[in-house]
Amino acid sequence: MATQGERILEVRDLVKHFPLTQGIMFKKQIGAIKAVDGVSFELNKGETLGIVGESGCGKSTLAKVLMALERPTSGSVVINGRDMAKAKGAELKRMRRNIQMVMQDPYTSLNPRMTVGDIVGEPFEIHTEAAPKGDRRRKVQELLEVVGLNPDHINRYPHQFSGGQRQRIGIARGLALQPEIIVCDEPVSALDVSIQAQVINLLERLQNEFGLAYIFIAHDLSVVRHISDRVAVMYLGKMVELGKDLEIYDRPAHPYTQALLSAVPVPDPEGREGRERIILQGDPPSPANPPSGCRFRTRCWKAQEICATEEPLLQIRPGTAHLSACHFAETHDVVHAG
């Protein structure tokens, strides 16, 4: 087993393109949706990496590729030294035990015709070596208890639970095979405000208890800040900035990150008139035909000629201590109300 701080996941130049085809009989590829286009990062044991970005930036596709639900077009996903992108058959199945997922919508991600016991115990059906048959019921009850549900409710159906409780069922299912990595794709965005805090606290408690590493995908920036050790910002299939939570939130270097942070409404009316706000014009371009050079240049107020010709790499820029992908990166002090 890896010890605290040891690297357990390394993603290199990950690319996922979805082909666009034309014609019915003779399908001809006429292009590709570049959903994830060259993403690299690593994850250590017990760490939380937050991934933020707008819809269509590729964060959910990234999650699917990490889970090996989609095969990458190129690049590698190395878990504990082995490349999952190349693994097949029994080896892939074994590797999948180590990375599990919590889905966004607890209303559609649980099969309404299965009992909670069957849902949480299903991973054991697939990975029979994880728990001997006679032991499964007890294991499922343990899991329910761990996530704060009543173990006696093992025979109930999903509709008998509230949204927050259903998300706990989804988390219990993710924990069943004792993975080291859990990918959480918008785990609280479908829940009511008063329930969100309960689920976030649960995720944090489980992380401390089991030394889990999280990839936490969300669009709510204050939730990501609360739970993450490091944060990556994605735009149109690329990472534009990656750093410790403080670096990203207090000293963002990329114009997109700055705009994103300034657009988040602050839950405090004091001083709202004087608050600085960068309002981006327009919508993100289509990932089928991204702009040349820097993909953000079409909405960027700093764009120069070089931005159209030369793609900025994700690297440490002068004057900043973390990775950013902008030719004109400069830190920007953010004044918080809270």
């Binding site: 509230s162 805090a197 609360h226 939570d245 705009a259 309002i279």
Partner: protein, 345 residues
Amino acid sequence: MSKTSLRTSPAEGGLGDEPLLAVEDLHVEFATRAGVVRAVNGVSYSLNPGETLAVLGESGSGKSVTAQAIMGILDMPPARIPKGEIRFRGTDLLKLSDEARTQVRGQRIAMIFQDALSALNPVFTVGWQISEMFRVHRGMSKRDAMAKAVELMDRVRIPAAKQRVHDFPHQFSGGMRQRIMIAMSIALDPEVLIADEPTTALDVTVQAQIMELLAELQRESNMGLILITHDLGVVADVADKIAVMYAGRIVENAPVYDIYRAPAHPYTKGLLESIPRVDLKGQELYAIKGLPPNLLDMPTGCAFHPRCPYRQDNCVTDAPPLYGISGARNSACHYWREVLDGDPR
């Protein structure tokens, strides 16, 4: 007839003490197979021209049902309004005939819905749908109405409006669709605009654009805006006053600055405390324990008592009235003084 009686003649001038829109002790219930669901239990709020009222609440709190009752778009049955008044410029809308109600709906009180894609008709062009407002309500010709539609699309800042007026809803992005919804709602210069979670389905950068657009349109036309939301951040940004709803009742209402400075109801306080804050990173978030109540099986007394840290014995038996605190502030909690003072639980 009824239309003229509703129009303010110049002689009437100001509104006097009567607000633009006043909801008074509104009750809405739904007959379901499982029993009668009391979705709204005595809600009162008021709105003045140019003012923004935020109605804050979780799913099932009755915030959208109240708005639908104001618009007159509730399906009745199963819905029923056993009690209450909705006064618009002094006239109770609930007493109007269907015909008179149609004159108000869309023309003088308009609404924006959360999900623009399902609120727009997929088989008509957006230009046709916007211009329908002018054709139906103003009797304009197709050509004139279409020209008006282009004008409106310009006003809500849709680029290349002249070309895009013939596009269908699916050809627009989420933010642009919401702009089209806004264009339709402001087409006839309404005096009250109800926005039901207008930005919930949108990304933050687009949300900022839409909220800015709404604020600007409001400044231009001095309409009253009711913003229904669950987002405490959006409320803090734009609202003048807030009504917090829980289980079909208003539990607290106050000017926006007061409520964020010192909430007077344990539910509001809990919501504000459960927001992740910079200075509390790494600590456990405050979480309101338990679940929102089942509307079919409401707790006795105060509906919040099973989740409330301030609960005393009388909360279980006596439903608290909306206590007046000061001026425009009210709280439906027997122990609002303790909550307001921030006494530890």
